[in-house]
Structure formats: structure tokens, C-alpha cells
């Protein structure tokens, strides 16, 4: 572990001792109005448009140009010819309308927090991993680990996706228009995974919490994944969400299969309380 005492972060309060207790500092006003962007986010104008032709650019150059455009206030950006390059358009922390005309390679659109993105082609492994918020729509198919460790937002693939979709999902909604591969929802912790086609083997294996909805056939359920009856709120929420993206459940929403955690694998120890902290 790095020696924090020699780092400037030590002066800011980052010490090596275990966190416990609470801060009495007041960090915000409950009466605050109309401040909708994080202090470090770029202030962009959605009506200010720009394009990047990525054909002869390396990944770093594409991301640099994207950042410069956001910095100068562009809120609607189109990237042409992404050429299935890896790690494009990652770490965007502000609102933005982004269109990628073509396909992406591995780890595209990772760590997003806010933007609305549309990809007209396909995406490779781990698209939108660790996404925090926003919307991502993939018009064609996606590779494995689609939405790995996603924490929030809507991630949609209109086509089919590979294995381990939503592995370690911690929140948000993953919506698959076609089929999903084996071990989808593996170690899912919360959030919602919706599959309008069929699901491969070991669906929801070792899921801790969260909900999986499947419209087609399920090859097999994983360990501790169990079926639960659909409720009115499930149907209403699914109707609303599918309508947003122009998708429909082939056999009707009420006939979808709902999978949740059986909670037989839950295991707690007594260390967790001392790791918690309270603020305000």
C-alpha cells in the first residue's frame, strides 16, 4: 500500500486507519434548487453540435478530441468511423448526446456517468462496464460481459448478447432484445436484467439480489436463482421501460419469467458495521 503520509491526499484527510463514526459536517442544503450537474462536470449545451471522424485516429486521440469538444461546450457529438477500436468514449461524467456511427471494440463506453449514447453497429466485450448513469442503446449485437458491474442507468442491446451479461451487476437496467448467453446475471447484486429472447445455462448463478425477467426459454437456472411470480408493479415497470425503447415482449409482459435470489448463499460476518460511515 502506498504511504499516504507522503501524499498530498493525507492533508485532505485520507488516512490509513479504518473508517468509523460519522462526520458532523453539513455537505449540502436540502433546499437547494436547480443545480443538476456535478461540480467537476463539463457545462455543455445540448444544441451545440460537432463531429469527429475517427478513421485515422488512435483510441487516445479520439477520446482527447471528445473531451476537448465537451470542454468547449458541445453537448451533441457524432463519432464517424469508430472502426471497432477499443475503449472509445469512456469516463464521460456529464450530460451529452453521443452517436457512434459504426461498431466498437472491447471496453467501449465504460465508466459513463450521465450521457445518452447510441451505437449504430455492434460492440465487443464489456461494453458499458461500470456504467453509473445515462442511457446506452446498441442497435445490433454485443459481445460477452455486456454491462459488467454496471451500477446505474439503462443499457440496451436490440440484438443478442454473449455470455456473462450483467456479471456483478450492482444496479441499473440491462435490456436485451434478443438472446443472452450462459451465466448471465452471475453474482448480480441489484438492478434489473431483462431478456426478451432466450437465456443460456446457469442464469443468475449466485445472484445476491436484483431481478431478472426473461420472455423466452431459460436453459437452466444457476445456484440460488429462483422463480417468483410477476406482480402488477413488475408489469407496469416493464411496460414503461420497453415503451421507452420501442421494444415488446413476444408473449406478453405478464407471461415473462421473473427470477430473484433464493438468498440461501447469503453469508455475513461481524466486520461490516465498522466499515460503515455516516455523513452530514
Amino acid at each position: 500500500m502506498a504511504n499516504l503520509s507522503e501524499d498530498k491526499s493525507h492533508e485532505l484527510g485520507m488516512h490509513t486507519e479504518q473508517l468509523k463514526g460519522r462526520s458532523q459536517q453539513v455537505f449540502f442544503s436540502a433546499a437547494a434548487h436547480e443545480n443538476f450537474s456535478q461540480p467537476f462536470a463539463y457545462d455543455v449545451d445540448i444544441n451545440k453540435h460537432a463531429e469527429i471522424d475517427a478513421e485515422n485516429l488512435a483510441t487516445g486521440e479520439i477520446n482527447d478530441q471528445l473531451r476537448e469538444l465537451m470542454k468547449s461546450g458541445h453537448g451533441s457529438i457524432k463519432i464517424l468511423n469508430p472502426g471497432a477500436k477499443h475503449s472509445i468514449a469512456v469516463g464521460i461524467l456529464n450530460r451529452l448526446n453521443l452517436v457512434l456511427e459504426g461498431s466498437l471494440g472491447y471496453f467501449g463506453l465504460g465508466l459513463l456517468d450521465g450521457p445518452n449514447v447510441r451505437v449504430t453497429g455492434r460492440v465487443g466485450w464489456s461494453c458499458a462496464e461500470n456504467m453509473m448513469s445515462g442511457t446506452v442503446v446498441i442497435e445490433k449485437n454485443a459481445g460477452s460481459t455486456f454491462g459488467a458491474a454496471i451500477r446505474g442507468g439503462d443499457l440496451i442491446c436490440r440484438g443478442s448478447v454473449g455470455a456473462r451479461t450483467g456479471i456483478d451487476q450492482k444496479g441499473g437496467t440491462i435490456l436485451v432484445g434478443g438472446d443472452t448467453g450462459a451465466f448471465s446475471g452471475f453474482m448480480m447484486q441489484r438492478g434489473r436484467l431483462v431478456v426478451l429472447g432466450d437465456a443460456g445455462s446457469n442464469l443468475g448463478d449466485s445472484m445476491y439480489d436484483g431481478t431478472i425477467y426473461v420472455a423466452g426459454k431459460i436453459k437452466s437456472l444457476g445456484v440460488d436463482a429462483v422463480e417468483e411470480p410477476m406482480g402488477e408493479l413488475d408489469v407496469a415497470w416493464l411496460q414503461r421501460k420497453l415503451d421507452l425503447y420501442g421494444l415488446t415482449a413476444p408473449n406478453g409482459l405478464a407471461n415473462m419469467t421473473k427470477i430473484v435470489s433464493g438468498k440461501q448463499l447469503w453469508n455475513y460476518d461481524n466486520l461490516e458495521p465498522s466499515e460503515k460511515k455516516l455523513v452530514l
Binding site: D7, K8, S9, L12, M14, R22, Q25, V26, F27, F28, S29, A30, A32, N35, F36, S37, Q38, P39, F40, I46, R67, K71, R95, N97, G114, N116, S133, G134, T135, R151, G152, G153, D154, K170, G171, G172, T173, R190, D209, G210, T211, G231, L233, D234, A236, W237, R240, K241, L244, V260, K263, W266, Y268, N270, P273, K276, K277, L278, V279, L280
Partner: protein, 132 residues
């Protein structure tokens, strides 16, 4: 519906929440102190949240669908994933008698906290930022 979701809504405000034999043995609540799978009732959306969604260009609650009001140390609180900690709800805010309305309050407070210039991430960013 789970056993916990049918409990008195103020259960974790009025008790330590350590109920079962197993929980007493390990000294803490097993599982979340609220239903993490509770889907939002959009009829209860607040005007502030509606303005936030419009600003971001979202047609529903997006990441806020996963935000609920929780309970820590007999106080209402909302979990902020960015600081990995609980933000307590100011005591002068009157809590509604149902979880759906409480969740909307929690979402509104969390947005205000995350957008605040005093959010702890602002200082952390100064220490660790890689980009301007």
C-alpha cells in the same frame, strides 16, 4: 413480497433492527434495511426530480431507480455510492407513511448532495485527478 417489506415502515427507526437469532448472534441486520428491488411508482415523482430528468434528457428515473431511503442507527438515510457511505436525512424533513414517497425524497436529497460543491469527491478529485 418479502417478510421485511411487510414490516412496519418505521421498524428500523424505532428498533436496532437486530431481530432473528442469527442477527443477534452476529450483532447486525442480515440484508438490506429496505427492499432494494422495489420498483418506483412514477405517480409520486416530485417536481424537482422531474426537472432533473428533463435536464439530463432522460424519460425515467434512470440511475435513481436504484436509490431508496434506508435506515442507519435509527435515522433515515440514503446511501451514496460515490462516497460509499450513508447521508442522513435532515431531521426537520417529515417522513411520509409509505416507502414510495420516502424513496422520492431520498432521490431528491441524493441529487442535491452529489451536485453540491461541498461533496467529498470534489476534494478527492483535487488530490487524484488525472484530467483537467
Amino acid at each position: 413480497m418479502t417478510e421485511k417489506s411487510t414490516r412496519d415502515i418505521d421498524h428500523y427507526l424505532n428498533s436496532d433492527g437486530v431481530d432473528s437469532e442469527r442477527e443477534k448472534l452476529i450483532g447486525q441486520t442480515i440484508g438490506y434495511r429496505y427492499d432494494v428491488n422495489l420498483l418506483p411508482d412514477y405517480e409520486r415523482l416530485t417536481p424537482y426530480l422531474a426537472s432533473y430528468l428533463e435536464y439530463m434528457g432522460w424519460q425515467d428515473l434512470n440511475w435513481l431507480e436504484d436509490v431508496h431511503m434506508g435506515y442507519e442507527e435509527n435515522r433515515a438515510a440514503v446511501f451514496d455510492r460515490n462516497i460509499n457511505g450513508w447521508v442522513t436525512v435532515p431531521p426537520d424533513i417529515e417522513l411520509p407513511d409509505n416507502q414510495q414517497d420516502r424513496d422520492m425524497i431520498a432521490r431528491e436529497l441524493l441529487v442535491k448532495f452529489q451536485m453540491s460543491a461541498d461533496h467529498p469527491l470534489v476534494e478527492l478529485r483535487r488530490a487524484y485527478e488525472k484530467f483537467e
